[in-house]
């Protein structure tokens, strides 16, 4: 029989029962020794780890290791054989990059926080690590006593701090910025302690000062200008500063003004037509705009088959892009002003880049005016910036309903993905010169950049296509039902969501790209790994130190990729706010 029951009181919520902290022994038994089999496995794996650590420690701390070759060759690692009397140029570019990084940190405030408890625990762990190293180290190791003392001191400090903090260890939070600043200070201290020449110490100090100043400037600008403006400026600055630094500051080209003036026969008409076209398109009906855009597309293709200056070809290409993008700048008087400003900017930037690009470098250094980490950075950053728009275009092309675009994109992606990067690099280093007119002989670095860009774009395109396919059909329908054009729907609705969805894949792609830059050593460029593998061990005072240098190179690559993957994790969490 069913009895009728009516609840008389609503039960208020209660806090969850307190979780009991399990002791270390309980934890060990639950996780490592919970059965006979697990005990055997734990012992075996533990032995392997111990033996490996002992071997590694023995290698790293062996008295025969000459780690001092690395600080001694810091210039080789940073910039290679760049003319020493012009070394300030490379420091200037590093300083500008640091400045942009500082601005970016201020604009995209890192929201991560670290508790004092985490810092104390890290200090304690470092102490334990030093103690373990000292105990494991083989007999040839001389610094056992120092390591034991240092480890014990760190352990005691960390443990004492943890106990003093007590319950507050996890409550009180420090912004990551403080930790970051502490890291920079630590870097400076190390810089001045190690036997590094003062010609390296002083510029590095200035570079770090530039980053700190830029952070302050950025924070000060956010209030009057607003965060979005600052962010856009940082992006624009980065896009413009990098080519200027690498093409202008570091190469110190002699600008051939006669050739710049020579262009006028082509350039001035194109600039004028450009203004007429974008002004017309921004106010025209769709059909009329489509006709103008169609003419521009045809012209920008035809110009590659007649004898026209390279600058004219690129300018026409950019004009077509600006004209096609005109609807996204808005309509009416405001839209017209925006598109005129955009076209003016494009003309100025492109002409400037061309002038300095065709100029002959005055610093002749056997084509190796870029080397070391300087070259590695350029080969990673510039292709990534260029491959991104290209990859997005290819992804959109491959998902497009227009068969010609689809065919072109699919063909490009499948061909590039079917070929190893080394082959692409070889082709661009040795093969492509046969197809170019005699006057146009780009240097090896530019060819490598093009090769890596095209390679990365194909993979990026596939990642982004995956993201596009994950967008539910309803998103397209909702956008269309409100009267959005296909371009608006793509730029505002589907592409932003697709890019968010594939951040992990894109980060993986960037990390791969960063490591793949080491492949350019086979076409004769002295990037970071080649410096570590050939150049430094070949110095008369550094013979027989290949292993030290390779270990150092591995650590440097790891530090960069690890930092990157951590940063991307935070980016994912932050962008995850709007995810269903």
């Amino acid at each position: 029989m069913v009895e009728t029951r009516v609840s008389q009181h609503l039960v208020p919520p209660e806090p969850p029962p307190e979780a009991s902290q399990p002791g270390a022994l309980v934890w060990l038994r639950k996780n490592l020794f919970y059965s006979r089999g697990s005990t055997i496995l734990t012992v075996l794996v533990g032995a392997v780890i111990l033996l490996f650590l002992r071997g590694a420690v023995g290698f790293l701390l062996d008295q025969g290791r000459q780690w001092e070759v690395i600080p001694r060759n810091s210039a080789n690692y940073s910039i290679g054989s760049y003319p020493r009397e012009n070394i300030a140029r490379t420091w200037v570019s590093l300083g500008v990059v640091a400045f942009i990084a500082g601005l970016a940190t201020a604009a995209w405030r890192p929201i991560g926080r670290v508790s004092p408890g985490q810092i104390s625990a890290a200090v304690r762990s470092a102490g334990i690590a030093a103690l373990v190293l000292a105990v494991l180290a083989p007999s040839t190791f001389g610094g056992r006593t120092e390591f034991l003392i240092a480890g014990a001191v760190l352990f005691v400090i960390g443990q004492a701090a943890l106990m003093a903090l007590g319950d507050r260890a996890i409550d009180a939070f420090l912004p990551t910025l403080v930790v970051l600043g502490a890291g920079l200070v630590a870097f400076l201290v190390v810089l001045w302690i190690l036997p590094i020449s003062s010609s390296t110490q002083i510029p590095w100090t200035i570079v770090i000062a530039a980053a700190v100043v830029a952070f302050g400037v950025g924070r000060a600008l956010i209030q009057p200008l607003g965060a979005p403006t600052v962010k856009r400026s940082v992006v624009a600055l980065a896009l413009f500063a990098l080519p200027v630094l690498y093409l202008h500051v570091q190469r110190a080209p002699e600008i051939p003004w006669d050739r710049v003036v020579d262009w006028s026969a082509w350039i001035i008409p194109i600039v004028v037509i450009g203004y007429a076209a974008v002004i017309f398109v921004s106010g025209a009906e769709r059909e009329a705009a489509a006709i103008v855009n169609g003419l521009l597309v045809v012209a920008s293709i035809v110009v590659w088959f007649v004898s026209a200056p390279m600058a004219a070809r690129f300018l026409l290409l950019m004009l077509t892009a600006v004209s096609l993008a005109t609807p996204t700048f808005g309509s009416g008087e405001k839209g017209r002003r925006t598109v005129i400003a955009v076209w003016t900017g494009v003309v100025l930037v492109l002409m400037y880049l061309f002038a300095i690009g065709v100029g002959t470098p005055t610093l002749e250094t056997n084509n190796n005016y870029f080397a070391g980490i300087n070259l590695t950075f350029m080969l990673a950053i510039v292709p990534m910036l260029l491959a991104f728009p290209l990859g997005i275009l290819m992804a959109l092309g491959r998902t497009s309903t227009m068969p010609l675009f689809r065919l072109m994109s699919t063909g490009y992606i499948e061909v590039i993905r079917g070929v190893p990067l080394i082959t692409v690099l070889f082709f661009f280093r040795f093969g492509v010169l046969n197809f170019l007119p005699p006057g146009l002989q780009p240097d090896a670095i530019l060819l490598a950049i093009i090769g890596i860009t095209l390679f990365a774009a194909a993979y990026l395109a596939e990642n982004i296509r995956g993201g596009l396919q994950s967008i539910p059909k309803g998103q397209y329908e909702a956008a269309k039902a409100m009267g959005m054009t296909t371009a608006q729907m793509t730029m505002l609705i589907t592409l932003p969501q697709a890019l968010r969805a594939v951040i992990p894949a894109i980060v993986g792609q960037i990390i791969t790209l960063f490591k793949d830059t080491s492949l350019v050593s086979i076409i004769g460029l002295a990037e970071f790994l080649r410096v570590a593998n050939n150049i430094v061990p070949g110095q008369p005072d550094s013979l027989g130190t290949k292993l030290e240098n390779l270990v150092f190179a591995a650590v440097v690559y790891w530090v960069f990729t690890f930092t990157f993957s951590r940063a991307s994790l935070r980016l994912e969490r932050r962008l995850g706010v709007g995810v269903r």
Binding site: G330, G474, M482, G483, Q488
Partner: protein
């Protein structure tokens, strides 16, 4: 047949046919909807009623017959389909809010890009409409942080922000918990009283009885019977209609 014979037709369908592969979803649908009229379409699932109203803003493309919306015929060479779509708002069963934008941005986006309003105008309009559907205080949140009923009201505000002349509703309450259906229906009733032309596919018979000017019973890709709610719920003529009503009432 002109409904009620009192107003100019704003939507005209004449022999609309549509196939998915070999399956014929619409078998010749002909009717007219007058300006300001509220038409509720009911019928079993799979009967083609959603396909029909999706043809009216051309999310589905009909293959035969004529559809004329606000004086413009929808055909394969129709220009400016975006312009027609911006006059015809639509609310979907699954809300289809843009998850990467806040509620306010969801409502302002198409206003600024399609209607070319300034940001200030668009935000004022958006906040007024969010107020009207009773969720102004949620403007800064993301869709994923709202309940289903709130999301659907955002979707309604998003459509209304375009100042449409016609609103289409494709089972707007079918994905909602029973407790939330009422808040969405109340907003829709308020809209109907303001004189909006509405075509509503729904299973909410109470809504049909209270708000509809005309009820259309749809089955097997065609209109079986249509008429006023009083006629429809008290004196249905066709056997199929009687069977359907006997099963749901």
């Amino acid at each position: 047949m002109t409904s009620n014979g009192k107003k100019e037709p704003i939507i005209v369908c004449d022999g609309v046919k549509k196939w998915f592969g070999d399956f014929q979803a619409l078998r010749g649908v002909s009717t007219e909807v007058g300006e300001g009229e509220v038409v509720v379409i009911i019928g079993p699932s799979g009967s083609g009623k959603s396909t029909w109203i999706r043809c009216i803003n051309r999310l589905e493309v009909h293959q035969e017959g004529r559809i004329i919306v606000d004086g413009i015929e929808l055909s394969s060479d129709v220009r400016n389909i975006e312009k027609i779509r911006s006059e015809v708002g639509m609310v979907f069963q699954q809300f289809n809010l843009f998850p990467h934008l806040t509620v306010l941005q969801n409502v302002t986006l198409a206003q600024t890009w399609v209607r070319k309003r300034t940001k200030a105008e668009a935000e004022k309009k958006a906040l007024d409409l969010l107020e009207r559907v009773g969720i102004r205080e949620q403007a800064a949140k993301f869709p994923g942080q709202l309940s289903g009923g709130q999301q659907q009201r955002v979707a309604l505000a998003r459509s209304l922000a375009m100042d449409p002349r016609i609103m289409l509703f494709d089972e707007p309450t079918s994905a909602l918990d029973p407790e939330m259906i009422k808040e969405v229906l109340d907003s829709m009733k308020e809209l109907a009283r303001s004189g909006m032309t509405m075509m509503v596919v729904t299973h909410e018979m109470g809504f049909a009885r209270e708000v509809a000017d005309r009820v259309v019973f749809f089955d097997q890709g065609q209109i079986i019977e249509e008429g006023t709610p009083e006629h429809f719920f008290t004196d249905p003529q066709h056997d199929r209609t009687k069977l359907f009503l006997s099963q749901i009432l």
